[in-house]
Every structure is written in structure tokens, then in C-alpha cells.
Symmetry: C2
Subunit: 213 residues, 2 copies
Amino acid sequence: MNVRDAIARRRTPQRFEPDGLLLSREAIEALILEACQAPSEDDLQPWRFLVVRDRARRETLYECAFRDPRVREAAAVIVVCGDSRAWENARSLLGGRIRDGLMTEDEARAMEAAWRDLYEGRPWERALLALRGPCFVAMNLILLATERGIATAPIFRFDEAALRGNFHISDSLIPVMLVCLGLPSTRHPPRPDPPRLTASDVIRHEDMETLEF
Amino acid sequence: MNVRDAIARRRTPQRFEPDGLLLSREAIEALILEACQAPSEDDLQPWRFLVVRDRARRETLYECAFRDPRVREAAAVIVVCGDSRAWENARSLLGGRIRDGLMTEDEARAMEAAWRDLYEGRPWERALLALRGPCFVAMNLILLATERGIATAPIFRFDEAALRGNFHISDSLIPVMLVCLGLPSTRHPPRPDPPRLTASDVIRHEDMETLEF
């Protein structure tokens, strides 16, 4: 399936067929790692994934997600997190780049200093770091799943404190969204598409207008 | 090109061939609108795009982007923004859903009340709204461009105040990233890929461990 078709055909199902699909641990890992070829600032790869397949744990996750039924029905749910401290923990990444001859030790030290300047004590910069890359990976993952015939429902609403507590998510990670994977329920056909915004609603061309956006 | 290949083959070029590609206003609009088929919370579509093709305006944008040379070399640069107040401006979206029979007037009013509860006075929820959807669209756009043979460079660093001032971006919009589109420079071949994190670095399976993530 080409990219254009995957984007056009993707639909968020209203409900999943309970346990209608079996997704192995290995299949999910492969999907995530493929999706992780996304770009990120300085290739910091500031993403982490918690895979919830176990039925009892999905039940707990369902409670954290304001009882969205898709969380308990899905074959697996991926909690997509962003690492707001990826820049502090990047020694091993930099070590790899030095070993591969992509960077000298001095350049690595300069990069660490630049990251400290950029991120230390700057919560907005850290939030951007922890959100943009993980969203890229989530979109890739959704399109890869679409291509393989797996339906996906991104869940944007959850009780962050409950999620952190129940799933032992450390303070440096930011839960960004849940992505449910499964087989769409035939008893709940997808709703018709809601109206989309048009070009003039969302696009401004800088060469033409100077009005406020 | 299938999704898997587009994700695997995408590379961020180090430099573009200056004005090496002509992208019409219409071609860029079509690309953006296709990418906008991404999911978003309650289909609020909280994204806006500023298209900068004009050479003089790209020069200004280059200054806002800490002089990243790709901004002045690209055929076009898209400033991807998120609308943190999309929920307040959604009357026309809801009107369309009512007209299409997807929602009653009462349901629309209930949805507006729910949005107020969720977003009003809650800057973190508004930041999530303004970042997640636009990143989805940016990733789609990057993959669609890859499929058409257009190279893309997402630029994550810019002087937000300078960008807002020079490009008249209103306070309710959050600049999320720039996406440069163009022809890669043959004089600056892409750098070898930096080392990627492995499955055990980024994935935790909830059915196995209970350690902190």
C-alpha cells in the first residue's frame, strides 16, 4: 500500500472486536522499531514505549483512560512516552557515534554542553523534545499498522497521574498518547467522516498576504 | 512506494541544492491537505500552516532559524503551527457535523462544554492539543514528500519570538517546527546514519516486568 493510500484509508474504529486479533510480542516490537526510523532533534530518539497486552493490565489501563472501551478490547495498547531528559542520558548514543567515526570526543562534549544550554531549566523546550519525536513515531506506527491491515485508535485522553502510578512511569517520561491496535468491530461500523477544514481554513501563503494568522 | 519503504528510505539532507526544485503553491497545498487526513482529538484538526516560498521571506525565516542554511536553500518551507484554541473556534466544525447529520445541536453544545472543562485554564492540555495533531500531519507530509521524490528537513530549533514577530503569528498559535522541502545537494551527501536505540533501550513489556520505566 503506498503512503498516499495508507493516509487516505486509515480510519479510527469506534470499537474493536474483543481480542479479535493476536499480536505477538515480537510483532509489536518489530512494528515499533520500524516506526522509530523517524527524525528527531539531533537524533536524540526521545521516545519510549510501554506495551500492554495482558488482559488484566489492559483492564487497569482502561480505568486510566476514562473507560474508553477500545483499551480493553484491543489486542495490544502501546503507551507512547517522550523522554524529556533524553539529552542527559545520551552518553551511550554519543559513544556510539564516536565509535562509528561520526563524531570526535570533543564534538560530543560540545554537543552535551549545547544540550544543557538548550534544555536545562527550560520546561517548554523539554516538552517540545518529549512530544514531537514520539508523535512522529506514533504516526509512522499507525501507517505501518494500516498497511498490514491492523486498525489503530490513538487515545489522547487519560488520567496522567493514574497512568504514572499504575504503570510505574518515571518522572522524566511524559505520557504522550495511547495507541490501541486490533481488529475493528463489525457491529460498530466506522462513523462517516466529519467535515474537514479546507485549504483557506488552514493554509496561509506568506508571499501573498501579510495579515495576522 | 509502500509505507515501510518510505519510512526506511527517508533521510534528512544536510543541505539542499539552492532553488533546485520548483514547487507550485498548488502542489504544496495539495500535499498539506493530504497530510491533514491525520487523526486528532475529537477531530478538532488543530493545525495551521504558513507556506514560505518567496526568496526574501525565506531569508527572514533563515535568520529566525539560527541560520540553518537549508531554510534559504529549500524550494519551500512550511511553518507548522498548532492551534491551542481550536476548541474555542470549533463552531463552524460543529455546524458542519450538525448539517451532515453526525450530531444534534444538543450534542454540539455538550461537546463545547466538555472542551471548556478540558482546556480552559489548563495550559498543559492546550499544549498537547497544539502539538500532537500538527506533528502527525508533519510526519504524513514528510512521508508523502518522500514518496514523490521530494527531500524534507524538519527544523526543530528556531527563535520563537522572532518567528512570531516577523511572520505575524497570533498568540493562540504555537509554532511546532519548520519543514523544508527541496532537492538534496549532491555536494553534501547525507551523513551515515547515527546508531539507533535498540528494542531493550526503548520498549518495555508490561506483562513481564514491573520495574520502573
